[in-house]
């Protein structure tokens, strides 16, 4: 189980391969990555602020909860902070299990929870100014299904 909160970019392919290789006997690996989205072509960049200390604790709690609900042999969470450009990868999760249903469900659970329960805040810079991204009600509602 690995949690990394870092400013520097990560190599999604290399991380995914290393995770899959180290998960001998898992049978099912699910990986997901989130990318800085530019909805209408005006985004210049993004700044991600976080709460050092609490971030790692919150992610550990979320990961432990996933392990208690599904049969996982391994899990990985990487989340960046600091300045990011459009198209850059923000974060990734990977889960390993004997069966794909557990790996898929746990990956979705990790995503839903880290969106609303890990202390990260996004600020977008556009051609016309900058502003904090507002939390979506749909993201909070997504937790209710678990």
């Amino acid at each position: 189980m690995t949690i990394r909160v870092q400013a520097q970019p990560f190599d999604y392919g290399a991380e995914s391969n290393a995770f899959a290789r180290s998960s001998d006997g898992a049978g099912a690996i699910v990986t997901f990555c989130g990318v800085v989205r530019d909805n209408d072509g005006t985004l210049r960049g993004m700044e991600i602020e976080h709460y050092p200390g609490m971030t790692e604790r919150a992610l550990s709690t979320i990961e432990a909860e996933a392990r208690s609900r599904w049969s996982l042999s391994d899990a990985l969470i990487i989340h960046r902070h600091g300045a990011l450009n459009p198209g850059e990868m923000i974060m990734m999760v990977a889960t390993a299990s004997r069966h794909r249903a557990d790996a898929f469900a746990a990956a979705e659970f990790l995503m839903d929870y880290l969106k609303s329960r890990a202390p990260f805040w996004k600020k977008e810079r556009t051609a016309t100014g900058e502003g904090w991204v507002e939390a979506r009600e749909a993201d909070e509602d997504a937790l209710k299904r678990w």
Binding site: G34, I48, E49, H50, Y51, G53, M54, R57, A58, H79, I90, M91, M111, L114, K115, S116, R117, A118, P119, F120, W121, K122, K123, W132, V133, E134, A135, E140
Partner: protein, 83 residues
């Protein structure tokens, strides 16, 4: 008691500080917020609508009616937008 208060995202910007140390006898988070609001306009403005604010005590998410006894670090921030 002495508390370290941390502010993140737009709360940090509105108050103009990432952190500060306060002496307080506030019993709950809500009492502490009332004390801060009474201090200066920028605090009153920042804490005008608590529906838009979340709080963590010693790095655990909690509610505004949570007691402060034994707490060392209070953090105020908007709803999280990670992922």
């Amino acid at each position: 008691m002495t508390l370290t208060i941390l502010y993140f995202a737009w709360l940090r910007e509105r108050i103009g500080l990432p952190r500060e140390t306060v002496q307080t006898e506030a019993a709950t988070v809500a009492d502490l917020v009332d004390e801060l609001r009474a201090r200066e306009e920028r605090y009153a403005f920042t804490f005008a609508d608590l529906k838009a604010v979340r709080v963590a005590l010693d790095q655990e998410l909690t509610d505004f009616d949570a007691p402060l006894a034994g707490v060392r670090e209070v953090a105020f921030f908007p709803p999280m937008t990670g992922g």
